[in-house]
């Protein structure tokens, strides 16, 4: 008896899992920077990274295009992954995610207002101000999150919540299409490209804004580890072990909306990453402790988005696929797998 307890080591595989993720992350980051429509020799890449001015145009490509894109992937992937994990825990629903529950659509709507409405409405955000767009998108995501939270307290079934999320998304996209119909051709094209998911158009200035906001979101998420860990037991149990459920609810909604909204503002509504990453990470290391899950999912999200972006560059060609085409290609099968798995358990 004592032996069995003292040798208890549930988390034996853990350092390997996290180590693997970190290693894989670095590899993916380097590959992502190394591959693009212009072939750059490996040594030129390495010396460009150290700002070797003698590399000329290579250095410019790396620092002005590839690195911002790679960092955008990292931030967006980390934010969407943790946002998705928090939502799945929060709704006790393995199918929850920023895009599934309509948060991305809510953010899109607000961005559409900000970008497209300039021609239609007397007000608007004017030029593409990073902070302004982030604020608009976050408020849209928060509004949808609150609607879905209110709905989730009425419906108990997992699938009903998803239907509500889909309908909210349909509602907001109908508003977006009205705006599209009324807007100028130039604005429309900018918005369409944005809505296909795009990590390649952020500059360093926007990256700084993203980094600050995602950093705040991740810190709030880490502060919510205790409530997140016990959330699966339900409100009553959580309160009975001293968790302030009301306060935690506010922080979790805020952190997830902040991250999802900001990412959607700068990269467009990226599909499936938030939904798929928590499942893929849990597959790699079966784990329910958010102290470990949150960083692992952040790493996993960064890895997945770096990979998807690398694939979307179609290595060896000058063509680029829309990012959402690639993330959906990976994410949709994961969704089907999760549905089948959860049906089997019941």
């Amino acid at each position: 008896m004592n032996r069995s307890l003292s040798t208890l080591n549930i988390k034996a595989g853990l350092p390997y899992g996290l180590g693997f993720l970190v290693f894989f992350f670095l590899v993916c980051f380097l590959i992502n920077v190394a591959i693009g429509s212009v072939d750059i020799p490996f040594l030129a890449i390495v010396s460009s990274l150290f700002r070797d001015a003698s590399q000329g145009i290579y250095e410019q490509i790396i620092w002005d295009f590839r690195l911002p894109k790679a960092f955008t992937c990292v931030l967006a992937g980390a934010g969407l992954g943790t946002g998705g994990l928090m939502m799945q825990t929060f709704f006790r629903n393995p199918l929850a995610g920023p895009d599934v529950l309509g948060l991305s659509s809510g953010a899109s709507l607000m961005v559409a207002f900000a970008v497209l409405a300039q021609g239609v409405l007397p007000f608007g955000l004017g030029s593409f101000q990073p902070w302004g767009v982030a604020l608009a998108a976050t408020s849209g995501a928060t509004a949808i999150f609150l609607i879905v939270v209110a709905a989730s307290r009425k419906v108990k079934e997992n699938s009903s919540l998803l239907i509500i999320g889909m309908m909210v998304a349909a509602f907001t996209s109908s508003l977006v299409s009205v705006l599209q119909f009324l807007s100028k051709a130039d604005d429309l094209q900018a918005f369409l490209i944005w809505s296909l998911g795009n990590v390649g158009s952020t500059n360093w200035n926007e990256l700084n804004v993203m980094a600050v906001i995602i950093g705040i979101g991740l810190l709030i998420a880490l502060g919510c580890v205790k409530p997140l860990n016990v959330w699966f037991m339900g409100e009553n149990y959580a309160i009975s072990i001293g968790v302030n459920v009301k306060r935690a609810r506010v922080w979790i909604v805020l952190a997830a909306s902040l991250m999802v909204g900001t990412i959607t503002a700068f990269c467009g509504p990226i599909a499936f990453v938030g939904l798929a990453v928590p499942h893929l990470v849990k597959l790699l290391m079966p784990q329910s402790d958010h102290k470990i899950l949150l960083p692992a999912v952040a790493l996993g999200g960064a890895i997945l988005l770096l990979l998807c972006d690398t694939l979307s560059q179609l290595p060896g060609s000058t063509q680029i696929l829309p990012l959402n085409a690639v993330t959906s290609f990976i994410g949709a099968p994961v969704l089907i797998w999760v549905v089948i798995k959860s049906k089997q358990r019941n």
């Binding site: 008896m1 006790r92 016990v230 968790v243 329910s288």
Partner: protein, 348 residues
């Protein structure tokens, strides 16, 4: 009204519960109750009478309509989550979690944001595991557990919280007899050895009668009758509240009417006698030493036999089923069938 003792862990004063102050929405009216350390209290009442609501209210999850709840033994004023732990009927859904992790959540009120278990925490968790005899389960995934194992694990989790009070809502619902007995034994043991106040809402009248120190009986007039099980049986409070149909509390058995109009003289000892009598009762025979038919339980070299004799025949049956079969085939005069409410009625 239960006496207040030095270690009264929860005390209510004029506690009124319900959905609104209207008469029809009231669940309980002005309850004055005490829950003391070292006592196992079984809280009984029909479905929907408000047992869960009272438990949630005592646990501070829900506000009462009026009245107060105090914790006289909590002199240093420690937080509620360190005073009361819960086992609820809420279903728990989890994917990848071991039983040990689930039990360790009991330590959460005592952990800081790093959530690292100190040696003391681990010792308390081990004690909780030992008290519930769940050692063999701790490495399993929570999803693999049976209903009975899950309840034991949830009790272990509550024990790990190491609170003076544990409130349990229907911990034995949907379990088979064996698991029900096991859980009540664990709870009784915990109440006695760790001097905890334990309140169990339950439907199991038979178990409650044998295990509880105190019964709380929810009555239709929105009150709670309190007393030792034996007092409540003998003063017929239980009969009145449950309006028992054919279950004799004083013998602890179901009443069977002797509808077969046939007396049998049963001779034997020990368990064999009791169970044979049980079978004969159930089948509607009455036991009478002056009866024509005699059944003798014969112990012959580890073999058990029922010898049925009368003036006209002798039959050796090797099982109670065979004995009943033989008796049923004897020609007899049936009594008119008894009025409803006397036979074929079980406890529920």
């Amino acid at each position: 009204m239960q006496r207040e003792a030095a270690d009264t862990c929860i005390k209510t004063e004029k506690l009124t519960l319900g959905y609104s102050n209207q008469e029809k929405d009231l669940l309980f009216y002005e309850l004055n109750l005490c829950l003391n350390g070292g006592e196992l209290v079984c809280f009984m009442g029909s479905n929907g009478i408000g047992k869960s609501t009272l438990i949630r209210t005592l646990a501070g999850l829900q506000k009462p309509l009026s009245g107060g709840i105090s914790f006289p033994a909590n002199k240093s004023g420690i937080e509620l989550e360190k005073w009361i732990s819960l086992v609820l009927t809420d279903r728990i859904i989890t994917s990848s979690m071991t039983v040990y992790e689930l039990i360790s959540f009991g330590r959460y009120p005592f952990l800081n944001w790093k959530l690292a278990l100190a040696n003391d925490d681990k010792r308390i968790i081990e004690e909780a595991i030992q008290a519930t005899r769940t050692e063999s389960l701790i490495h399993k995934s929570v999803n693999e557990l049976s209903d009975g194992q899950m309840q034991l694990v949830m009790i272990a989790r509550a024990l790990a919280q190491d609170t003076p009070v544990i409130l349990l809502d229907e911990p034995t619902a949907h379990l088979d007899l064996n698991n029900r007995v096991e859980i009540m034994r664990v709870l009784r043991n915990v109440a006695k050895t760790m001097n905890k106040a334990i309140l169990v809402a339950t439907h199991e009248l038979d178990l409650a009668l044998q295990m509880a120190d105190i019964l709380w009986l929810a009555t239709p007039d929105k009150q709670i009758e309190v007393g030792t099980p034996e007092d409540l049986v003998l003063n017929e409070t239980l009969d009145k509240i449950f309006r028992l149909k054919g279950f004799d509390l004083k013998t602890g058995k179901v009443n069977h009417a002797p509808f077969r109009n046939r007396e049998i003289n049963l001779i034997g000892t020990g368990y064999e006698f009791l169970w044979t009598k049980n079978a004969l009762d159930r089948e509607g025979y009455s036991i009478d030493v002056l009866a024509q038919i005699m059944i003798e339980i014969v112990y012959d070299q580890n073999k058990l036999e029922w010898r049925i004799t009368s003036s006209s025949f002798t039959k050796n049956a090797l099982s109670i089923a065979e004995m009943l079969d033989f008796l049923a085939k004897l020609p007899y005069e049936p009594k008119p069938f008894p009025p409803p409410g006397q036979v074929y009625l079980s406890k529920s």
